[in-house]
Subunit: 435 residues, 2 copies
């Protein structure tokens, strides 16, 4: 295809059905700086509705009504109420998903529970958790810790070697649906079927999926492809704010068994109890997914998260996640085409799959020098991506607020940074604490 | 002593050195309703500084500066910065305490680590966690879960039987410093010495202590009385907001050993890694207490918590926790004297110890009928305490904002509710979801 002009990109924005949703975000300061924010896969921007809602929680619910708000403002059921909203974004049913804790903590709950399920039914030889070598580190750390305590072990493979690594000794397949480094997206249904055929359970981390790509945890039209466990993050494409609470989903067949057999998950905190306010000495797990709640929920953060989730639900009248996915692919296609044309011969390689079926909502590039200085030079030019050690330049494309002209401008600036060689200046060699 | 009049209480307020600190709280609505808030031991009120600080985090740090705020606004070190402030309130050193997760989750980390320490050095017979039968349920639930996974068991005793229950088989003594039901306060140094003499470690839950009573985790003037682990809550006397993040402290002798031997705690999330942004496949615990951080910290909630902690630190020029403690005992002494005089013969019993040395900052009453309807009738009369099943009427006295006249008025209304018998009305028989 011929290379699109900036005008052609503006024309795409003019007919983009999701374009009106950008107004839901306070990107005023970034816009005033002429900045292009391609880091929503690390931290989604502030929804305009959030400050007023948080103010209401602070002044009216906490300040004015004090302790009574646990009842009158519905604080106590927020983890389920927001969970039901997120469930709509990941192909799960109402009452199957709760907001709680961090992704890391939820992963511990999910893995520990999955190991308990396996240990109760499978032969002792089935004690391996299979994951991807480049999975997000916290997933590997938590899995290693949880496995070691329970006589399980973790086996890491490259993405291409996963299918052949799943076998009779596999207890659990634990993967992040969209890889944080490469942007590679696994075929959730296919992997789940392979795992189930081998007798293993599947735990999915949806950190880079929820709100960005369609997910069918319950299998969509094919219940045989339904996953077992999932966790996910509130502060990326769900726009819940820095360090927003995370979520956990467990297939009803497992929670039904846990109900029937009275099983708990290891982080058996009081708000996962069937009757927390009975203050009983013995733990009786709450029904279904509610047992995965642990301590007292962080209400201010939950309120902000709900506003963020609402920005994604606002796309439902415009085609919802299918429309988000169409635009995401169009944005990343455009980025790839422009990078191919304007970045060629400058030491860049495209890391993210070009195949739509295996591409998430980001594009990662690698550079022969590592690339950190290029990311910093781009930031100085108002293109906000991030660097993932040792050699990934990462650009997230959040369809709710990223425009086609943003993609054009971003590559234009990338080309300038590379052509001018300004990224080699000493000021870009400094590392931040967080990059 | 003769019974104080309301005027005498007003005179006490007039000379109270902490009285000016009440202005730091937005109790305007409660004051306008003529309400007396005696539930700060469940949820501290809104500090006036909190909304502006949260607005700054939302608009300036998140909205305007986006991802850069992890560096520029110091988000990444908030768990330590606020931890250092809380350390000053609990007799710990800078760099020994971090804010993270919930009390329940932190307790799991503390207990699991303590069990690892015991298992590494003690004979296999030492596998019991001793706790109090009426300890807060989440502590018992988490302990039971964590113990069961590791071949340990939990033994529950009444407060009076604890010392004799601690013996050769005791691995850990886990107590809440101030009991949530009775308001009984353990002698932290004495219990710690008994436990250590028996070869056990001590884990303290400071939920009802931090910000309310002096705590000397490091032993104060007596390092031999230093505790081993502590966790605590941000939303009670620390005024951090509903579900505020919690904290965890570990004695440096244990974190030094963990450093030397490369040990991790089980919730080995990425932000407890020595170099999270190296994105290494293998977990290397961060130094000292930092390894007890797990997932990405909830920044908006942390900002609110810091404002709450600052309300307690604001007492430092006025005598700090010693002054808070003096006022707390004066308030609860007054409450007890008034209840003795005006509640006598109406089926009430005082549950909280009258001895200063064993009294926390609350007074619990029991009523022959259970008492839930009385708590509800009191709420209708503007006295906000709470009910703890099956039979505790609980009143918290937070010295930063509770006045002596509040105590007088509260007992006056309690006497009215009891004398009139209005608490027997059907409308007070209804139970809330949260009480």
């Amino acid at each position: 295809m011929s290379l699109p002009t900036r005008d052609a990109c503006a024309a795409l924005d003019a007919v983009d059905p999701l374009a009106p949703l950008r107004a839901a975000f306070d990107l005023d300061a970034a816009d005033a700086r002429g900045e292009i924010y391609l880091d929503g896969n690390s931290l989604g921007p502030l929804p305009r509705a959030t400050p007023a809602r948080v103010r209401q929680v602070l002044h009216d619910e906490w300040g004015r009504d004090l302790i009574g708000s646990w009842n009158t403002a519905g604080w106590i059921t927020l983890p389920q109420r927001i969970g039901d909203k997120i469930a709509r974004l990941v192909g799960a049913g109402a009452g199957e998903l709760v907001v709680a804790d961090s992704t890391s903590v939820n992963l511990y709950k999910a893995l520990a529970t999955a190991m308990t399920l396996v240990a109760a039914g499978a032969p002792p030889a089935r004690r391996t958790i299979v994951s991807e070598r480049t999975n997000f580190p916290t997933d590997l750390y938590i899995a290693t810790a949880a496995a070691g305590e329970r006589g399980f072990s973790v086996r890491l493979e490259d993405a291409g070697g996963l299918a052949s690594a799943i076998g009779e000794d596999t207890a659990i397949v634990m993967l992040t649906h969209v890889n944080y480094r490469t942007g590679h997206m696994h075929d959730m249904a296919a992997v789940t079927r392979v795992a189930h055929a081998a007798g293993a359970l599947v735990v999915w981390d949806l950190a880079h999926s929820a709100g960005a790509v369609p997910v069918a945890l319950a299998g969509g039209g094919d219940p045989a492809s339904a996953a077992d466990f999932a966790v996910g993050c509130g502060y990326k494409y769900l726009n819940g704010g820095p360090g927003a609470p995370a979520f956990i989903w467990v297939h009803p067949r497992h929670t039904a068994r846990m109900d029937a057999e009275g099983w708990r998950q290891p982080l058996a905190g009081w708000l996962g109890h069937a009757s927390p306010f009975a203050f009983a000495t013995d733990y009786q797990p709450g029904p279904g997914i509610t047992r995965f709640i642990c301590g007292t929920p962080p209400i201010v953060s939950l309120a902000a998260l709900e506003c963020g989730v609402d920005t994604v639900l606002a796309a439902e009248p415009f085609g919802g996640l299918d429309a988000i996915r169409r635009k995401s692919l169009a944005l990343t296609d455009l980025f790839l085409a422009l990078v191919d044309a304007r970045g060629a011969g400058r030491g860049l390689a495209v890391v993210t799959p070009r195949d739509h079926a295996t591409r998430g909502s980001q594009v990662s590039l690698a550079h022969e020098t590592g690339g950190h200085a290029i990311v910093r030079a781009l930031v100085a030019r108002g293109v906000i991506g991030d660097f993932r050690a040792p050699d990934i330049l990462r650009f997230g494309f959040a369809p709710l607020y990223t425009r086609f002209v943003d993609v054009w401008d971003a590559v234009d600036r990338l080309a300038h940074v590379l052509d001018s060689g300004e990224w080699r200046e000493a000021r870009f060699a400094v590392r931040d604490a967080v990059t």
